[in-house]
Amino acid sequence: MNARRHTYTLLIDLDLCDGCGACAIGCAIENNVAVPPASSGESKGIVPLRVEHVVHDCTGEIDEVWIPIMCQHCQHHTPCVAVCPQTAVDLDPESGIVSQIPDRCLGCRYCMAACPYHTRSFNWWRPEWTQSLAAHLAPDVAVRQRGVVEKCNLCHGRWQRAQDAAAAEGRRDLQPGEFVPACAESCARGAIQLVDLLDPGDPNFARAHDAEAFHLLDRLHTRPSVTYRSTRQWVREIDDPRCFANEGQVSHV
């Protein structure tokens, strides 16, 4: 059995995020997510990455935070992997990326029900673009067919491309900066950065493991790899339901 060599994931500094949404747009463009038809409604769009807006007034002082939420790439008893009857979801032992193989997907949506973060979307419609837009699709990500589940795969196409480039130079490991997911590259404020949780030499390694770093729904023991950071305590405890007992304090942006 191969030992895990990398755990690539995202380190998101919530104190830097101003919710501009560039990450969501960049993700959609990079992954060739088609614009859903007008009849899609709010619950049927394909959203690999969404930004939640949370207004907090527990202490009487209003504060707010924007939380980019994508697949958390759980590393332990990954719920979506466990329930998939087609092994269409896979935890890549090489990179630590939870990947989705659309060609294998039956569309049963068990994984959507199992995901505690609701980061999976079902592709209800055949992806269609206008002719002019189709000419500007991203080159590395195949268009998924109707009837499959989609999720963030940490820009697997970019990872493959970076690996190919490294292999062409005779290297096996990637250098920092060679693989950057689209959301991280789109973030103008540097709030989203790639980190290898197993590489102490990674420039973001220390920040991903210090006291200000946290994971969403850590109590589920699925060991999500996507790491958030904040200096504010209430943000670090944001998944505590006691903090948001009142209605209307969390709004989806």
């Binding site: 101003d18 949404g21 560039a22 990500v141 942006v253």
Partner: protein, 593 residues
Amino acid sequence: MKQKMSRRVALQWMGGIAVGVVLSPAPYALIDDLTVATQTRGRSTALPTGPLGRVRTRCSACPRACSIDVLTVGRRPYLTVPAPGHDASCAMRPAVHQLALLPARIDGARLAEGGVKREIATERGLEIAAQWIDAGRVGQPPVGLVDLSMRPVRCTPLHTLATQLPASIWIDPAPHWLDDLGESVGLPPDLELASDPRFESSATRLRVAIGTGSAFAVMHEPDVDRVARQLHEQDSAGLLWEEDGAGMSPGPGLLARIAAIDLQLDAFGPGRLFPARPRLDHSLATTSRSLAQVEDGSLELLIVDASRAAGSVPWRRLRRKLRPTSGRLIAFGIAEGPAARHADLFLPAPAPLECEEIVGGSRHGCVTRLAISAPVHPRTSRAVDAIDLAQLVHPVASRPRDAEALAIELERMGRGTLCGVQGDESEVATLERGSIVDRLRAGAIWADTVSDWRPARDQHRDAPPRVEAAALRLCVEGSGSLASGESVPPVLAKIALEHRLLAGSGHARAHPEVLLRSRAKDGARCRLHTEAGVLEVRVHADPTIAPHQIIVGTGLGRRVFDPTSRMLETLESLDFDPRAERGPQVHSLEVLG
């Protein structure tokens, strides 16, 4: 020799074949292929192929002109990302890429009657809104406005984003962009706006503190015109608007004036007024608190601007604020989405990029035409909606326009207020006291001068530019400091059309008066001695260029004299950053040969 096959051997063969078939990947691949084939009827989308590239350029979504990298496949762009080391950017940057192609755009008003929504003309929708406002103005409780657009670009899930992207108007690249911008354009701490001799009545000398827009909140039309001219004369001019002086975001009145001055600047060059945004920390929270303080079921009418790129509008909470039976909700929006569904009256809002013709196409033209009724001049602010309403709600009122009135109001402004235009109103006051009417009335100051503006603007356009002793500066095509109307190229639109259009001109351009002064002929090869070095280039006359600027083109990479540019004849020893907003001063122009 005849080979015999026993039954045992035959069974072994058949069993082996069966096991081989079961264990081989062929059937599974076949099943997979069949799955794909049945799920993807028709042709699959072909992805573009070609070498991957990265082109450094400028974003043209706003005058900030952030440095961006465009990721390309072959010659086609597919994603824009911030240029490394240049963090001033926003969600509009990637959004603009797909702006012209978004579906589900609503280009007419929608009115809900008896639970059924029907489409009506935009003009009719505005009339209805005006009637409701007029009725709410005299009623109790008063009309309220919820402006949830204090943060310019906000994120939504993609499906919402996809239908609302074009609505964004304000660009807020970074919280410190005011400082950056001020430094980049070389603004002094105080900008002295001397009177223009062409406007004899405007003898007031006005000092405007950079970083406050309060002075312009009290500006009247002649002064707007004068300031616009003044800004034109100063190549480094730029006004930074911070807040409305009361610590809140600019209201419709202030936005109207910004739009007014922008409009005038458009007559000369790119608009250079930047309505700054409130600080990042408390804006939306303040609005949320304001909303919470309004008693449920107490409001007669709510007007919600839901036209920004993406926004979180608590529609259900807003609904609760309205009276259950008679309360009405008016929403400005762009496309299908929550705004269109929840509003009793939905009004289409213009998209700034469309207004500025950054994104072309028939759809764009259609939307622009329908979303913006007369007057036909370009509008660059979402204040246009409020102004349209203001025109309908309030008849034109006469008000002092002379410098004396301005001085009085400036004096009042010095006492820390905003002359009653914005007042010291907070968003709470906006909701509770129905100050939308006041704001709209303030907006009418701008609105009632629309007819006056056209001849004034035409006059500026037709007037021969004056060549003064202003310092001649070398400017880079695309720089935000240019005064030429074509100086801010719609980069993204261009790259979406043809990559080659990114390449700059193969020569420098200058006003004919500049060539005349230097006794150079059109197209002459000249040596420009600048404070940053020497440049040899062919200079062509271009009357659209400001008389104190010489514009040089840039290459594909937006680096001056990029090898990929068409400026093959150019020789240079310049040492300056073409992305700097202020180009080097040109000491002399020497004609060669």
